[in-house]
Amino acid sequence: MVLDEKTLVANADAGVLAGEAVALPSRTQVGPTWEAAKTVALRVGSILAMLIVWWLLTFIFPPSLIPDPIDTLKEVGAIVNTGQFFSEMGATLRRVGVGFAIAMLIAIPLGIVMGTMKSLENFFEPPVILGLTMPGLVWAVIAIMFFGLNETSAYAAVAITIMPMLAISLWQGTKSIDKELIDMSTAFHASPWSKVIDVILPQLISHILAAIRYGLGLAWKVVVVVEMFGFSNGVGYQVVRGFNVFSMKQVLAWAITFLIVMIFIEFGVIGWLESRVTRWRPKIEAWRR
């Protein structure tokens, strides 16, 4: 090993020099702006395709079943212009938001505790699994029967429906965290609080974000059902009103406002949150095409 080391080094040096003499061929690159434009074009194209399919369906079905897309979009505009959108959507968002916050406050500690302590895992596993199998509709009925037709029942129905799902996600996430980092934090005498905040929670971030995405999807479904039962505002109530006068246009217009808000939350709020909390992670996109 000692014998050949100097010659090896000399050869390596020569190789580097020879390599430098020849200009590196530039890698064919399309550039990031082109990539971004392509992404946007594909997404817009997908939405356009859906609108075209809808429009084609209007030739087959009567307008009472498949209303004209342009008319429906005008209805959406009217809903937004009259300010109805903000009051109704505000009420629905508040119910989802409060219910979601309650579920999170319970699910995060519960999931972490289940993931770290075997005995509590065994104790809480059956209720969590049972809760997951219970349909949201049933929770909505139970909540309304229990609390009556008021805001509390909406909060409770949302919270209890999504809580098991959040808890399972965090429980599994906690089980998969790096135990060696816990040892490290023990070696440096980190306090239990610091272990949770600095070591465990950051490893759960991607699980929490995924849980928020699924949780929101579930929460929307439940809250609309609760509102249909007899609330006097909220998106669910408006959909029922549309149903009562058999106006497909109105039902679809409210559904679309809903989707717009969902898209805003998904790409705007959660996307922003994700890029903020994962900025420590280098982007690995090379394997995707």
Binding site: M184, S185, A190, D198, I205, P282
Partner: protein, 258 residues
């Protein structure tokens, strides 16, 4: 500064079938004060278990381990120990600097001392320019240097290192060994370094404790005849010392353990 006194350390691990496996068999030794003590032995021989016992991550079944301060008084649980792991074990979501302050916070170092210490130890490992960088953007060698700085920044009585170079490529490991040796010599840092690499032990260790495996039992303790500055891997005296060590290790391993 201080040294570590290990006396009659015994440790069992439970086997799958419920019986106990002896991991450490009456291990006794003193580490060098102000220098590096290498625990040398084959892989999986219980050296890391011993290191974990020194740090308090594992409990001994018998025997005692004390960190003895310079004046000879045992420091008990009060002793500050720095730990450098085999893989850097950094918190990837925290910057280089925040990884160091995590240790400072845990060890309850007054916050007024943080800026000075961060500056000093980041300079020492040559990472001052990367203090705000996240670990995953650094090379393996740089991450390991962050781990070293984290172990040092708490100014421990004893620094424990568990095969800190074994996951690095050969050239990086070689440079980092030299740097670590210089840093420890400059700081007069009492250090315990676990390794299975005879050359590493000969290069780094002021005292070398040789273990045989399953259960770990000390076979030989020898002091390095060369001062840290004289250990040149091409020097005949170094090669001679390395050979002696290697022979001891091979002789002890026997034929059944290869």
């Amino acid at each position: 500064m201080a040294y570590v006194h290990v006396e009659g350390a015994v440790k069992y691990f439970p086997r799958e079938d419920g019986s106990d496996m002896l991991v450490l068999d009456r291990v006794s030794f003193d580490t060098k004060e102000f220098g590096i003590t290498c625990l040398l032995g084959p892989s999986g021989c219980g050296k890391s278990t011993l290191l974990n016992a020194i740090s308090g991550l594992e409990r001994l079944d018998q025997g005692r381990i004390e960190v003895v301060a310079k004046n000879g008084a045992p420091k008990g649980g009060q002793a500050k120990l720095g730990y450098v792991f085999q893989d850097a074990r950094l918190l990837n979501w925290k910057s280089v600097e925040q990884n160091l302050t995590f240790a400072l916070k845990g060890m309850e170092i007054p916050q007024s001392q943080w800026p000075g210490r961060l500056q000093k130890y980041l300079d020492l490992v040559g990472l001052s320019d990367f203090r705000n960088q996240f670990p995953l953007y650094l090379s393996g060698g740089m991450r390991q240097r962050v781990g070293l700085a984290r172990g040092l920044v708490i100014e421990p009585e004893v620094l424990l290192m568990d095969e800190p170079f074994s996951k690095l490529d050969q050239l990086t490991a070689r440079r980092l060994r030299e740097q670590t040796l210089q840093i420890c010599a400059r700081l007069k840092q009492t250090t315990v370094l676990v390794t299975h690499d005879v050359e590493e032990a000969a290069l780094m260790g002021d005292r070398i404790v040789i273990f045989r495996a399953r259960p770990a039992r000390i076979i030989e303790i020898c002091d390095n005849p060369l001062a840290p500055g004289d250990r040149d891997i091409d020097d005949p005296r170094f090669i001679q010392f390395k050979k002696t060590l290697l022979q001891s290790v091979l002789k002890l391993m026997g034929t059944d353990e290869v």
